[in-house]
Amino acid sequence: MSRTIDSLCIDSLCRDCGASPPGAVCSACGSRRIVRHPELFRWHIAHVDCDAFYASVEKRDRPELAGRPVIVGGGVRGVVTAACYIARMHGVRSAMPMFQALKACPDAEVIHPDFAKYGAAARQIRALMADLTPLVQTLSIDEAVLDLSGTAKLHGAPPAAVLAGLARRIEREAGVTVSIGLAPNRLLSKLAAGRDKPRGFAVLGSDAAAILASEPVRLLPGVGPAQERKLHALGITHLAHLQALDDRTALARLGEDGPALARRARGEDARMVQPGQDTKSISAETTFDTDLADPRILETHLWRMAEKLARRLREKGFAAGGVVLKLKTTRFAGRTRAQRLPGPTALPDSLFEAGRGLLRREADGTAFRLIGLGAHPLLPGRLADQPDLADPEAPRRVAVQRAMDTLRSRFGEAVIGRGRGR
């Protein structure tokens, strides 16, 4: 009896019919997919994440695969691009080498990625989101964040109900499932979306700090393995430890980014939802046909990656504040090495020089199967390649690059190149 009274006090929503049932089963449609949270109808920032997107699209098109493990990925030497939840139960993970994935899950159906198809599905989903609010920020092909504030009147329903409807519509029209996180800000919405996957709906609000406290620091977006090691070394293993740091202590113990990290651990985030693409990283990488150890040959490949990266940066209007060199040994051990650049650049020469410095320390006879070069942090393109007093040749190089870009845009990629890349 007391349970029913509790339930009555907490807002609830049936994700299948939109009713607000008091109990564990929807009194209107009999569904058990009820989401319940004291602040369910209060928040309006939503993170929408497609579940195992590429694999789901493939399963949609080949219904006979529905109950089978599916891996999307390329080639004998390739890696897992996406794995369905059945394959994940066998231990298959994204970015895992294919042979390892197949060892874990030998009867998986391996499908070569068809990016055109995934792109089409993603566009279809984005259109459904755009129907609900103009404030849709695409984070990647299968992730977006929506700001539904002020739309309740328009839709005749609070954001939570609108989102449950969106999830149903995506399933029906695009044939894939999504997980939704609803919260007061972008960070919490993303964390919420991760709490109930796949086909989930979770809310985080005033309870966030208490819930996050017992989570490992790694949960926080932006805390990678290196940062995690650093924090662990300081005795900071759980978000509670970060939450406890005031700005001054965080600065003293963790450095410049400390206060922001502590605020994020408390679930604070002031980022706005900005319609359009949110590019987080730009990189270029290639897997060799045969493993390579010769530093000179590796440098030739690095140069091609630098050219590709520079072109992508310029196309998207960014500059690199630093470079990240990525290598993979024949044993699939990944190595990433990062270096800040003296000044933001979008020139292949500067990206290559920095990458080469990193590569020289790694190319010690080890055979590699993959090389990649990425830009991090990404900075606005207008900051790129400012005149450099220590480099009288710089203006000439910028002019040469511009001329090459113009030629390539008119006559195609192969019309001109540097001797180094041949």
Partner: protein, 374 residues
């Protein structure tokens, strides 16, 4: 080996050498000072294999000898002894411990064999000249802030010292740049320097040399080759390797036709920059300068904290060209104005081109500053 020396004499010598000795202790002998007592003098040597510093001081040596002992420890001990103390050092046997006594204090230090102490030979130093301590200090102080710390362009990690022609005359020039700013300072060329090669003196050497110059206003003897440079100031000799690289052709980046001239009092300007920049939370602290006839408006903005601006009008600035807006990092502006005594002169071209800054009362220094895109 046995000798006596005064605390004050030892302290000064050890202070000079101990900062050169290697502190990271990867090669234990490099943390030691080589101590040689011979005749009436005592010499201390420290090296990190890039720089070697030798200081000779008078002492009453009763038994010649040599050993090596930890430089930092020796310095700490001597520093903590009472001011007027006389110290007695004794090493009974080769390879034994070094005993140090002062009054009723005594200590025994573990030594390492002198044969293990690396000798940094200067080799032939064909170019020799003299420069006053004051002149050398001026060359260093007005350029060292612009030395780059960027590892990839190691040839920028020092001061480029070379002979050059300026307005038809010969000068000795010091230049440093990190790509964002460049400092060029000249002195009349000393006798013997005209034929010297251009050399890049490493940052650490510059720092050690500058410390010695705090006390030395007399003549400094400079001797150099393509690969080594040596400074003799009073009782100290500092020998250093040079950076093996090619310094950029910096003359090509110094603008020639910047004709918009702003003249402003150094203190008025730097105080205003500091006040305006205080609002900015970015590390680079960009400050915008907006110019109009006899009016300079400095401003800064921070997305989190707000905005600030300050006007300097005709009483304090002279500017007669057209309107101009240009942005600089506050720190870069301050580094330069710190070296200027009374009035600063800016020579602009436009808001995105390199700007020249000079001391209105001193033509020997020239600074180039890259604007920020704000």
């Amino acid at each position: 080996m046995k000798f006596k020396a005064e605390r004050a004499t030892l302290l000064k010598a050890l202070a000079h050498i101990q900062s050169v000795a290697e502190k990271r202790n990867t090669i234990p002998i490099l943390a030691n000072a080589l101590i040689v007592a011979k005749g009436g003098t005592l010499s201390f040597t420290a090296t990190d294999m890039e720089i070697a510093i030798v200081e000779e001081v008078p002492a009453s040596v009763s038994r010649d000898g040599a050993t090596t002992a930890p430089a930092a420890t020796l310095y700490e001990i001597v520093r903590k002894l009472p001011e007027a103390a006389e110290l007695e050092f004794e090493m009974a046997s080769e390879g034994g411990q070094l005993t140090l006594r002062a009054g009723r204090y005594s200590t025994s230090l573990v030594t390492l064999p002198t044969d293990d102490f690396p000798s940094m030979t200067a080799g032939q130093l064909p170019h020799r000249f003299q420069l006053s301590g004051l002149a050398l200090r001026g060359l260093i102080d007005r350029t060292r802030f612009a030395i780059s710390t960027e590892e990839t362009r190691y040839y920028l990690n020092g001061i480029y010292l070379h002979a050059a022609e300026s307005d038809g005359g010969h000068v000795l020039r010091a230049v440093a740049t990190d790509g964002h700013r460049l400092a060029r300072v000249e002195e009349p060329i000393p006798e013997g320097a005209a034929g010297m090669p251009g050399v890049i003196i490493p940052r650490k050497t510059v720092g050690e040399l500058r410390k010695l110059l705090d006390e030395e206003s007399g003549e400094v003897e400079v001797a150099l080759s393509d690969t080594r440079i040596q400074f003799k100031a009073g009782t100290v000799t500092l020998t250093s390797k040079l950076i093996d690289g090619t310094f950029p052709e910096y003359e090509r980046v110094i603008p020639k036709d910047n004709d918009k001239v702003l003249r402003v009092g150094k203190k008025d300007f730097s105080d205003a920059v500091a006040r305006v920049a205080a609002i900015s939370s970015e590390r680079s602290r960009p400050v915008k300068m907006a110019l109009d006839r006899d009016l300079l408006t400095l401003s800064a903005a921070s997305p989190e904290q707000g905005t600030a601006s300050e006007e300097l009008d005709g009483d304090r600035v002279q500017y007669s060209s057209g309107p101009l807006e240009i942005g600089f990092q506050a720190r870069y502006l301050n580094d330069i104005t710190d070296q200027i005594s009374d009035h600063v002169e800016f020579y602009f071209s436009d808001g995105s081109a390199p700007t020249i800054v000079r001391d209105a009362g001193d033509a020997s220094a020239l600074y180039v500053l890259m604007p920020m895109r704000v």
